[in-house]
Symmetry: C2
């Protein structure tokens, strides 16, 4: 992965940046929620959407009629997946920070023209392995109404900050609690539809916020 310039910054000091594929993939895979910056008539816009990775590309989807997606087609975008892992409490306000893992990908958004359904299957099966083949099969007008986009990971970078507070030596005896309050995106118990026939097993979530 080459280093894009400039990169996003989540806190005020440079954090450990990584450009290796394994790290970038792991951070992308840690959360299904992505944000995509794009331009609409010259103005910066933001799309929050589910994203998923297949190999060395990141994908997202939406309505074929979506103004946001139409504005993105072939255009430069900046996609980010950020997981907040904790709040870091120091003795001084200045050294407070957060634990996070973030990936930023820049490039031109490419609209998928062939094999859309296989990518939608990848999205569903990534969250719930094997679910796609249990579903009512997708209809051609549904495929038509759905747009799938992707971005190569050739200009991607990861930033990871998982350390504790870094107070200056002189501050370390200041009488205030210091440490980390961990945070995680967690799943609750699955809530079945009221009219669901008995005996259908609840799906197992493959995805875990690591």
């Amino acid at each position: 992965m080459s280093a894009p310039t400039p990169r996003t910054r989540l806190r005020r000091f440079p954090d450990k940046a990584a450009y290796d594929a394994a790290t970038i993939h792991a951070v992308l895979d840690a959360s299904p929620l992505g944000h995509i910056a794009y331009a609409m008539e010259g103005a910066p816009m933001l799309l929050s959407t589910l994203v998923w990775r297949e190999g060395d590309r990141v994908f997202w989807h939406g309505s074929s009629a979506s103004r946001a997606l139409r504005a993105m087609e072939g255009a430069e975008v900046c996609l980010s997946v950020t997981t907040l892992d904790g709040l870091v409490l120091a003795r001084s306000a200045f050294e407070h920070s957060v634990q996070f893992r973030s990936v930023m990908v820049m490039g031109r958004a490419e609209k998928v023209t062939e094999g859309k359904e296989a990518h939608l299957q990848a999205m569903v099966d990534r969250l719930f392995p094997g679910r796609w083949q249990q579903l009512r099969p997708m209809q051609s007008q549904e495929v038509k109404a759905t747009a799938v986009f992707s971005l190569p990971l050739s200009e991607a970078s990861a930033k990871i900050a998982m350390g504790g507070p870094t107070d200056e030596e002189a501050d370390r005896s200041w009488p205030v609690w210091a440490g980390v309050v961990p945070m995680a995106l967690t799943f609750g118990a699955a809530k079945p539809e009221p009219d669901l026939p008995e005996g259908l097993p609840a799906p197992e979530v493959a995805w875990v916020a690591r």
Copy 2:
């Protein structure tokens, strides 16, 4: 609140949009993580950062030397706070969706020039009430090194989708599990620094992902 055009969309169908201050405030207050789209030399860029609300403005901060913040000053930006509340599993792939609450704010980023410290206090005390006055007092060079930005909520909109699957009648008997897998950002047990003196109470987190 007036309706900005266009608005972000998290799923393919229009969801319930809201422009009243109470809803917008509640969604902004539900997560400390924001994303801000801005332009850097004409290219769309994204900043992931902590955000907090004071009255009818949303704030963020960073290093005074940050290239991202310098690029934003007085420029159009688009800020979003999105909370993922669940995965919605339908009988057809097409009706799968997510439960979410999202706010999008558009406007020109304003750099705070007076009273930066009071805003930083608001950020800390919002997360941990009363903590600011327990901290080693902020030094003038720390205030100088910190930039604070804000955006009015005059062009803000909220979108909330908390429903279950909306399968077509003909699909509701398809033999696959359907319902909602809830998600939430949760806090773990606070981890004190190894050299922390005994007897200092761990801070209580005021903020809860509601």
